[in-house]
């Protein structure tokens, strides 16, 4: 299946939406979602870098002889990146829980004791 440059556009859009959430959303949880969106965009880009039109999944045991495969390295990188993303998201959400406990709000504009 020839997908053209469509996934790259989606990846760029995901990054832009994520940045929009980080720039204009006040809620801490929504900012974490923004980070996740940027991450998803980058991951999608990374997978697309190794994609070949019509390629099979890079699993040697399933492929037919002579069939061309997509590049496995970016997929391995993406998996690593997803694992790291899980850890960062968990940490960010934990911080959000404790920030809410201390400040009683998730509004980022009210959480500014550290300034100046």
């Amino acid at each position: 299946m020839n997908v053209g440059s469509f996934p790259f556009i989606i990846a760029a859009l995901l990054v832009v939406f994520g940045l929009y959430a980080l720039l204009f959303k006040r809620n801490l949880i929504k900012m974490v979602i923004g980070i996740s969106l940027v991450e998803t965009g980058v991951n999608l880009f990374l997978v697309m870098v190794g994609y070949r039109s019509g390629g099979a999944a890079p699993i040697y045991t399933y492929a037919n002889a002579g069939e061309r495969m997509v590049l496995p390295t970016p997929q391995a990188l993406t998996l690593t990146s997803i694992v790291i993303g899980l850890a960062t998201t968990a940490l960010l959400l934990s911080f959000a829980v404790f920030v809410h406990r201390h400040y009683g709000t998730l509004d980022v504009r009210k959480i500014k004791e550290l300034r100046g």
């Binding site: 999944a57 699993i59 045991t61 998996l79 968990a90 934990s94 829980v97």
Partner: protein, 157 residues
């Protein structure tokens, strides 16, 4: 979601599905070197079974059966096992795959060309998958427990 978990329907279904999820998770870990998946993915599946238990039976229902300390200890042991396997090949290089093609455990040589895949290949890789799987399943489970307990404390205060 209250302290006692959810309705009897959810609990019954959980009892039924729980074992299937566990088996599927361990399958994914075990075949990590042959099929998509591996330690992290399988571990995450197993941890989702723990999360299912927590959701269905509530924190009170699971308390005492899933000890946080036990989970954390197992997590460290998994990580140490992974590192130990990485150290095993230090005679040649760190992370050197000592067992691959050696004829011993997981040491069968890989057939050339497309094949169905044999479990007894991969050398240290399947063992590392198990170590990572142990770490991930216990790690994510303890994260879920900590977050649940943390959220609960906030409700009572």
């Amino acid at each position: 979601m209250n302290q006692d978990g959810m309705s009897i329907i959810v609990r019954t279904v959980t009892r039924f599905v729980y074992g299937l999820v566990l088996v599927f998770g361990f399958y994914v870990i075990m075949h990590g070197h042959l099929t998509p998946g591996g330690g992290f993915q399988g571990g995450a599946v197993v941890a989702s079974a723990f999360a299912l238990l927590l959701v269905a039976f509530g924190a009170a229902g699971v308390k005492g059966r899933l000890s946080k300390h036990l989970l954390q200890s197992l997590e460290e042991i998994g990580a140490l096992a992974f590192l130990g396997l990485a150290f095993a090949g230090i005679g040649t290089a760190f992370f050197y795959n000592l067992l691959a093609n050696s004829g011993s455990l997981f040491g069968a040589s890989v057939a050339l060309g497309p094949n169905a895949g044999f479990l007894n290949t991969g050398g240290l890789v399947p063992l590392m998958n198990w170590a990572v799987g142990l770490k991930v399943m216990t790690g994510i489970a303890s994260i879920v427990i900590v977050m649940l307990v943390g959220a609960r404390k906030e409700e009572t205060e």
